[in-house]
Symmetry: C2
Subunit: 334 residues, 2 copies
């Protein structure tokens, strides 16, 4: 059916291997021969069969990307950046949605999925470092999203603590003293939630403001999670003058609910988030948030993973580069 190298070889009057050499830019080919082969390729409409190439070469030139769900804006935007970075380096990205389920994450790490990819970018949500190390095979693996932190694993880090502290400090500088936190529980110390909560605490301490666990409300990192959380807080009667959603959709969900309930933002209550998704800029009022360095994260992660795949760089040293964040001050918390 499909045109193969053999057909091209016959048409060009050369050996199959010469066609292969032309395609792979082998150095020593007479220009005339090369041209004949290229003409034959053109004429027959030959396309290299990537499956066969993969089988023979042992490389698929595909990176796996495991994340919870593309419908989450931050992941979608990150995935888009990752795909572009990979594309620029000659790799494609195969996305696997884990739905935030441990089984699914595990099977993505070990399963057949791996045989389709040369390496994996993984945003773990349910598995811890130990489970990841146990489940992961020998193929290169780079973690993103820092829910997991471990000195044995390559990963690109977000400055959760510092960025969170910066947001909090900004709210404090605006005169807020009772800052509610949505998306973490009082005891959390690990994962994005824990790290961001700790950054919040550190900023409070630095400003001499007392930490009140009653202001810390756990919720799913979704819009409705944020809306529910703020509703519970309002209903509880606890006083607060600012809200820090540990990611943007939580903050936006809370913002929505606050406005529904007739609160004035930012006059009565300031709102801030974390991620700087595109939507944050166009919310009403626009959302103050922190940009975690998404483009840099994508770039570094892809670069690191491909270096591992291609054996460049120091093979044995675990790498954990950190992305630069920046505060985005907007209307919701000027």
């Amino acid at each position: 059916m499909a045109v193969t190298m053999n057909d091209v070889a016959r048409a060009a009057g050369v050996s199959l291997k010469t066609v292969s050499n032309v395609i792979n830019d082998y150095e020593f080919i007479r220009p005339a021969t090369k041209q004949r082969v290229l003409d034959a390729i053109e004429e027959l409409g030959y396309e290299t069969n990537l499956t066969a190439r993969s089988l023979r070469s042992g490389k698929t030139s595909m990176l796996g990307l495991v994340l919870a769900d593309l419908s989450v804006p931050y992941y979608a935007e990150l995935a888009s950046d990752i795909m572009k970075a990979a594309w620029a380096r000659g790799y494609r990205v195969l996305v696997e949605q884990s739905g935030n389920e441990a089984d699914h994450e595990k099977s993505a790490l070990q399963g057949q999925f791996r045989s389709l990819t040369d390496g994996l970018l993984f945003i773990p949500l349910s598995l811890d470092a130990e489970q990841i190390i146990r489940a992961a095979g020998k193929k290169p693996l780079v973690l993103l999203g820092e829910f997991v932190q471990d000195p044995r694993l390559d990963m690109v880090l977000i400055q959760n603590h510092e960025a969170s502290a910066a947001v909090t400090a900004h709210l404090l500088a605006g005169g807020r003293r009772r800052i509610a936190v949505l998306g973490a529980h009082d005891g959390d110390t690990t994962g994005s939630n824990g790290l961001r909560l700790n950054g919040y605490k550190a900023a409070l301490a630095a400003a001499g403001v007392e930490y009140d666990p009653a202001l810390v409300i756990g919720c799913e990192w979704r819009r409705d999670g944020g809306a529910d959380a703020i509703a519970r807080l309002l209903d509880s009667g606890v006083a607060f003058d600012a809200v820090f959603g540990l990611n943007d959709v939580v903050a936006l969900g809370a913002l929505h609910e606050l406005l529904v309930r007739g609160k004035r933002v930012p006059d009565e209550i300031a709102v801030a988030g974390f991620d700087d998704i595109d939507e944050a800029r166009f919310a009403s009022p626009s959302l103050t948030t922190v940009e975690p360095g998404r483009a840099e994260i994508a770039e570094r992660a892809v670069e690191l993973l491909i270096n591992r795949i291609e054996g460049k760089g120091s093979a044995d040293k675990v790498e954990q580069p950190e992305a630069e964040f920046s505060l985005r001050v907007r209307q919701s918390a000027p």
Copy 2:
């Protein structure tokens, strides 16, 4: 390196082909043999090499999905649904971002990308039907997103005209008479923009309201496009009491700009969109919009494509199922 069927065969004391038979659930295998093979697989940690299987069988069990950019919420949500639908049927999805460039779309249609997939889901934006037919190979192809319409191509349709008319009718029913349209030009008749514009016109006509081209503002289908467009309209001094953004992000961008400029929504100006992205529900005010049947679109498209791939269904008849839409009335246009 990796464990192959051969290793398993040796360990289980059977032939390579028997291992293959066990894995592919061949009927006539003695339970004892099967068990021995399964044990060996377990013990050695064997994983089938999907690349090799693909080469031999000629199927990759992957669907290609070509869209402009995952950072666009509607595409991200659609992609998520498509991936789930495909997964449920034993297929994976390989996403290719065209960036809305014709060259890129074309290369996705013909290029090596195709050899990795059994069929393609394509959301065309730059290519027209003729170009698509010319560029596409013989592999199954299903179009989505109806910028292109052609009786020769399989596609899943959105009821652009009807849904758009429904939104417009809703605004009219709310007493609005000067409804601005963002995201189309006066002359447009094809593509989502043209079809939706026509739906708008039809609803006006049905209500006996005159069509005013000055209310139709072209813009990119992005947040900033919507914001710019409404800014231009406001600056032009043309009077209007409602805005229909031809998709949600345009509407949300416009909504943002209206609020920035101190307009009251919906009291002074009502706003409606098209797509019902998750964000619409949590905007402030929440956005009235139309749900085009996204889940159904994903489901039908995947089903249709896989039927084509597997040769089920009527081979020769072009299929163009239409998804059911539904109006979502919210605060921005009650």
